[in-house]
């Protein structure tokens, strides 16, 4: 049966509300709806099939395509990379307060559980209590923390950690950096320098699932400035719908690697696109 245009418009505007209320950024919602219209154009509905199920099915396909554009398995990546070089270097970046430092502790725990040796570099040499915060985590996890004084050059600290790890045959170095606004050119330049000098094997953007439209601004700017390899999306336990995952993946083309869902060391799970799409549209 030919699709009833008026009925379709009604369904699309309901879906627009759902996506916007789920924290999918406005411009991303507009592009998704446009794609959805294109795909439904000329499509015929089976007899007895509800139009809404047809449309939602098509929407789920589009969302899964966005989320699944690049497949990335963290454990496999580490296993492969470690065969060609040691230490594997992972750099964590993002705006202020998104959960970078806590996420590093979680990733460290996961690596230790997989029998890798880990060193953490205290690359946030700016914020009050940043080094002390990592000292607590390092002590709890039983890993070495390489740190300098507050105010030191972050590139020097990270470089120092890489040298230390290389000489001790350490498997992975996790580098923390200070949170910074994407609007601060000097801080973004500093990050470019850190990346250029320490050449991480993985640059992970850490952002929070509770952020709204601004998630695309910062993801886009960080990606343009230092090219991220993937995102870890934190604070999912606060129970946002999770549309931020769609926004960030859409503008960066890079995968969500993990979801952070709590403040404990075990609160890190592999990202499951199907789970997120179901949650968004249920």
């Amino acid at each position: 049966i030919i699709i009833d245009k008026k009925k379709l418009d009604g369904i699309l505007s309901e879906l627009e509300m759902i996506l916007l209320e789920s924290d999918v950024a406005f411009e991303v919602v507009e592009e998704i709806l446009e794609k959805l219209r294109e795909r439904l154009n000329g499509k015929r509905k089976k007899i007895g099939e509800k139009l809404s199920s047809l449309v939602i099915g098509e929407l789920k396909t589009i969302l899964l395509e966005i989320l699944g554009r690049e497949f990335f398995d963290f454990d496999e990546f580490i296993a492969e990379k470690i065969k060609e070089k040691k230490p594997v270097h992972i750099l964590f970046v993002g705006v202020n307060g998104t959960g970078k430092t806590t996420t590093i502790a979680k990733v460290a725990k996961r690596l230790l559980a997989n029998n890798y040796s880990v060193v953490i570099s205290a690359g946030d040499t700016f914020r009050a209590g940043a080094i002390e915060q990592l000292e607590v985590h390092a002590r709890n996890l039983g890993v070495r923390l390489i740190k300098h004084k507050l105010g030191a050059d972050p590139t020097a600290v990270i470089y120092d950690a890489l040298k230390h790890a290389k000489s001790r045959g350490i498997d992975v170095v996790l580098s923390d950096t200070a949170g910074r606004m994407h609007t601060k050119k000097n801080l973004i330049d500093q990050l470019e320098k850190i990346k250029r000098v320490t050449s991480p094997d993985l640059t992970i953007f850490v952002d929070e699932s509770i952020a709204g439209n601004d998630a695309i601004e910062r993801a886009r700017m960080f990606n343009e400035a230092i090219k991220i390899d993937g995102t870890i999306l934190t604070k999912m336990d606060a129970d946002p719908k999770g549309g931020t995952a769609i926004s960030i993946t859409y503008v960066t083309g890079k995968p969500i690697i993990f979801i952070g869902n709590g403040q404990g060391y075990d609160d890190l799970v592999k990202f499951d696109a199907k789970w997120l799409v179901e949650r968004l549209l249920d």
Binding site: M17, L20, E21, S22, D23, A25, F26, E27, V95, N96, G97, T98, G99, R127, A128, G129, A130, E132, Q133, E135, V136, H137, M181, H182, T183, K184, E208, I210, A211, G212, N213, D214, A215, E217, R218, K235, D237, A238, D239, P240, K241, G243, T244, Q263
Partner: protein
């Protein structure tokens, strides 16, 4: 209110050749789009735009010219229930800061303390976060750097015990700002702790600190905090990014409370009293 700064943004209204129904509908569509992109709660955007449309088409301008009348309607509806700020009396005051993880409470505690210290008030902060690793050190370092009074107990895990002791120890200060651990509505134990702390300490002001980039979750979280302890005002942080603060605004509108301060940077002086016209301009810009 500074209508002139709103005029810069609502150029279309001031340049429109006539304020007719077609113009109003187009203007409302533009406002809707701007508010959604600014993270205002989607349901509130619908309410705001419906009300603006109704008032613009049915109210007569009376003393203002038609353009200024429309601008005033837009401004009033966006800020409905929020008001233009909060005046904290400069006498014995206890302020408690609460909010989601990472929103900027610890940094803001010292910013507020310095803000009032610069105005002649004896201010101190209490390290009421007994949960986050090195929260004590973070607050202590900041307080010492700026000559703000400080009380904390590095190894005490009972936050209420610390704050009670702190209030006693700092009784010679005019203003005490209590930093607390980040928490969200689903963390029952932390919400309980917050309730007990507010009950026992009885702060004069309880401010909810919200990141200007927070999305649709803001209103729901704000309601939960308000039901738990009663919130007197909102503080918006990280306004030096690109976020417009619509989520935080929605929280203030939802509860019907003022926005007290806006934090716009990592430096201690990066805090200002809420500027309603500037805020609405940026929201719509």
């Amino acid at each position: 209110m500074a209508l002139s700064s709103l005029k810069d943004v609502i150029r279309k209204i001031t340049r429109a050749s006539s304020i007719d129904k077609a113009f109003v509908e187009e203007m409302v569509r533009d406002i809707q789009r701007a508010l959604i992109r600014a993270d205002v709660n989607v349901r509130q955007v619908k309410e705001i735009s419906d009300t603006i449309k109704k008032r613009a088409l049915n109210e007569s301008p009376k003393s203002l010219n038609p353009r200024e009348h429309i601008i005033r309607i837009v401004y009033e509806e966006i800020l409905k229930g929020v008001g233009e700020g909060i005046e904290i009396p400069l006498k014995k005051t206890k302020i408690m800061l609460v909010g989601l993880q990472g929103s900027g409470k610890t940094t803001t505690a010292v910013k507020i303390a310095k803000y009032y210290k610069d105005r002649g008030v004896k201010t101190a902060v209490i390290a009421g976060d007994a949960y986050r690793p090195a929260a004590y050190h973070q607050l202590k370092q900041l307080a010492e750097r700026y000559g703000i009074g400080f009380y904390g107990e590095e190894n005490e895990r009972d936050a209420i015990k610390i704050v009670k002791k702190g209030v006693k120890e700092l009784k010679n200060y005019d203003m005490i700002i209590i930093d607390t651990a980040g928490r969200h509505a689903l963390e029952d134990e932390l919400i309980e702790e917050m309730k007990r702390m507010a009950n026992e300490i009885k702060p004069d002001y309880k401010f909810l600190v919200l990141d200007s980039a927070i999305g649709q979750l803001a209103s729901k979280q704000a309601e939960a905090f308000n039901s738990a302890i009663g919130i007197d005002g909102i503080i918006i942080t990280k306004f030096d990014g690109t976020a417009k603060g619509g989520g935080a605004l929605s929280a203030a509108r939802q509860i019907g409370i003022p926005i007290a301060f806006i934090g716009n940077g990592e430096k201690i002086e990066d805090i200002e009293k809420f500027d309603p016209a500037g805020f609405v301009s940026r929201l719509l810009g």
